[in-house]
């Protein structure tokens, strides 16, 4: 049979062909690396991706702008909130609206929590795959405490769908300050411990120093962004280069590496987490406490609907616990109130005819969010780098075309070059330091 892959066609006689993956215990994620080997030495390599392809872009073309938000959770599933943010801010650019100040601060808070958890996951897996299991456990523990803060507010650890077009879904949980300071303290301690375990560890250094080295020119040519690009010495960070939200008002540094090897990618991520923790503390200081809700007895939704037939009721309505934090009194600080950008207040849907009509006009097919015709590109700094959305609108309530610029697609495309000429053992830490996330890579 005619060989299908370039690797098979170019294979030297006498060399051995070996598949690593698509499912391999030492690699996180489903990706197939085909190797042409001379004993342990890699003569040639070819990477095959797409095992997690589920038609994200096609699906989005068949969903309304509001409904497709949930699919963005499943891109980089370690930092879903940043994916939400990237999509939502692209839409806001097209609609010409901006989130209120409080919502912007909450978004920064959520982004940085996600960034730290993303880096923790990447380094934990990388360390575990090179034999440091303790580091994995420590980092997962820190990640849990960060996810506690996220879970308190969004109700989910991963599938958050919390950052919405126009703002955020609900206010922070009343207990968020305590949970945040605990998470920040715990993460700092873990970072210190991990530094102690790995920074000068000869085994770790042997697997990472001078391994998987990429030059600055090659990193740019491969379209690298994020921590991987910064490890080669280029301080490109979307938060600094094209500031969004309130990042221009926050003090943080962009750590860079020197040689672009695995160790630098580890080091940049470690130092970036410290900067993110710094941002978290600044944002916590800037965020005022949520305004208190009007006191008094609340009536049930059925009662409100019944009363609204004869009178205009002014009593507060008891909402479902799912809607905690998105009471009408809180919404102006949380979401842009222009119609139809954000979900209208539920209390109005229960008590007034206009509110009910507004509710239907938001959710009905063919109505709701309909941006003007045109195309737009916007990007945010994701855990892996520049996470960009390109959306083409034809004026209807569904995107004509939605394309994701997945940062790790570009990064993984360089893997073949990085492992060529190295040993099999070098594949593991090199691949680990790239932070390949299948959901984002394969879409």
């Amino acid at each position: 049979m005619e060989p299908r892959t370039r690797l098979e066609r170019q294979a030297r006689p006498g060399s051995m062909l070996l598949n690593m993956g698509p499912s391999h215990p030492a690699m996180h994620g489903t990706v197939r690396i085909m190797l042409e080997l001379d004993a342990e030495k890699i003569l040639n390599a070819e990477v095959e991706v797409g095992y997690l392809h589920r038609g994200f872009e096609k699906t989005c073309e068949n969903r309304s702008y509001f409904n497709l938000l949930i699919y963005t959770d499943r891109l980089n599933y370690v930092s879903p909130l940043i994916n939400n943010l990237g999509y939502v801010m692209t839409m806001e650019k097209m609609l010409g609206v901006a989130a209120p100040e409080r919502a912007q601060l909450i978004r920064v808070l959520m982004s940085e929590l996600s960034r730290v958890s993303d880096h923790l996951t990447c380094l934990a897996a990388m360390a575990m795959e090179s034999g440091a299991f303790t580091v994995f456990l420590y980092m997962m523990k820190a990640r849990e405490s960060l996810w506690d803060v996220i879970e308190f507010t969004t109700g989910a650890r991963m599938t958050t769908s919390y950052i919405r077009i126009g703002g955020v879904r609900s206010d922070l949980h009343p207990e968020w300050r305590g949970a945040l300071s605990k998470a920040v303290g715990e993460t700092r301690k873990v970072l210190k411990d991990v530094s102690g375990l790995l920074d000068k560890n000869p085994i770790f250094l042997g697997r990472t120093r001078g391994v998987g080295t990429i030059s600055t020119e090659d990193a740019l040519s491969y379209g690298w962004t994020g921590p991987c690009l910064r490890s080669t010495g280029i301080a490109y960070d979307v938060r600094k280069a094209h500031p969004y939200l309130v990042y221009d008002r926050l003090a943080f540094d962009v750590p860079v590496g020197e040689s672009g090897d695995n160790y630098d990618r580890y080091g940049v991520r470690m130092r970036e987490m410290e900067q993110s923790l710094r941002i978290l503390e600044q944002v916590a200081a800037l965020l005022p406490d949520a305004p208190p809700l009007p006191a008094g007895p609340a009536i049930e939704p059925e009662e409100a609907v019944r009363r609204s037939r004869t009178e205009r009721t002014r009593d507060p309505v008891r909402l479902s616990p799912n809607l905690d934090g998105s009471e009408k009194a809180r919404l102006p600080g949380l979401a842009c109130q222009d119609l139809p950008v954000a979900v209208p207040a539920k209390e109005d849907a229960y008590t007034t005819m206009e509110g009910l009509i507004g509710h239907f006009l938001f959710f009905m097919a063919g109505k709701g969010i309909r941006p003007p015709k045109g195309d737009v590109y916007f990007s945010v700094e994701g855990g892996n780098g520049e996470l960009g959305f390109y959306i083409v609108s034809d004026g209807s309530d569904k995107p004509y075309r939605l394309h994701l610029r997945a940062p790790c697609f570009h990064i993984v495309s360089a893997l073949e070059q990085l492992i060529r000429g190295r040993l099999i053992a070098d594949v593991i830490p090199t691949f680990g330091s790239m932070n390949m996330i299948g959901g984002e890579l394969d879409r």
């Binding site: 892959t5 991706v49 491969y222 280069a241 520049e386």
Partner: protein, 161 residues
């Protein structure tokens, strides 16, 4: 070099390859002739434009209404901190354009994706093969003519397995 200066400089350098300029929600957009894609890109990569990064490459299907596919390139210049979007329209019957692989290394994968999803041929591409779907997949899923939920034929097992 401001946005207006850039457009003038581009027109001066690229001549007739530039079919038009546009502004889309504040982003500069350049419409270029499809046969000049590679020449334009290699000019843009060098000084004074210095677009060192190919941020993104994708395609949009306007086949039903306008009979064309639109290739969309996003470039980023690190030294000037600006992005640029370029668009080239190719006929829907036989979509084909010259490759930019060789100018940027990630172009090889990005073009494989556009080929896989839209069936656009990239002339001169060293290894134009499906990337996200598999060998034996029928059709190009992101074309508008491809139904949303189409079942694919089962791939036969390989010999001897």
């Amino acid at each position: 070099m401001g946005p207006e200066g850039l457009i003038d400089a581009l027109r001066a350098r690229l001549g007739e390859a530039v079919e038009g300029v546009a502004d889309s929600f504040g982003d500069p957009v350049l419409l270029i002739r499809p046969q000049d894609v590679r020449a334009v890109m290699s000019a843009l990569r060098e000084a004074p434009f210095d677009y060192a990064i190919l941020l993104d490459l994708t395609c949009v299907d306007f086949a039903a209404a306008e009979g064309r596919f639109e290739l969309v390139y996003h470039l980023y210049s690190l030294s000037r901190n600006v992005r640029l979007r370029l668009k080239a329209s190719v006929p829907a019957e036989r979509p084909s354009v010259e490759t930019v692989a060789g100018l940027w290394k990630n172009a090889e994968w990005l073009e494989r994706e556009a080929f896989d999803m839209f069936g656009v041929r990239f002339e001169g591409h060293p290894y134009l093969r499906r990337i996200l779907t598999y060998e034996g997949f029928e059709g190009h899923p992101l074309r508008k003519s491809y139904p949303w939920r189409l079942e694919q034929p089962r791939v036969p097992l390989k010999d001897g397995s």
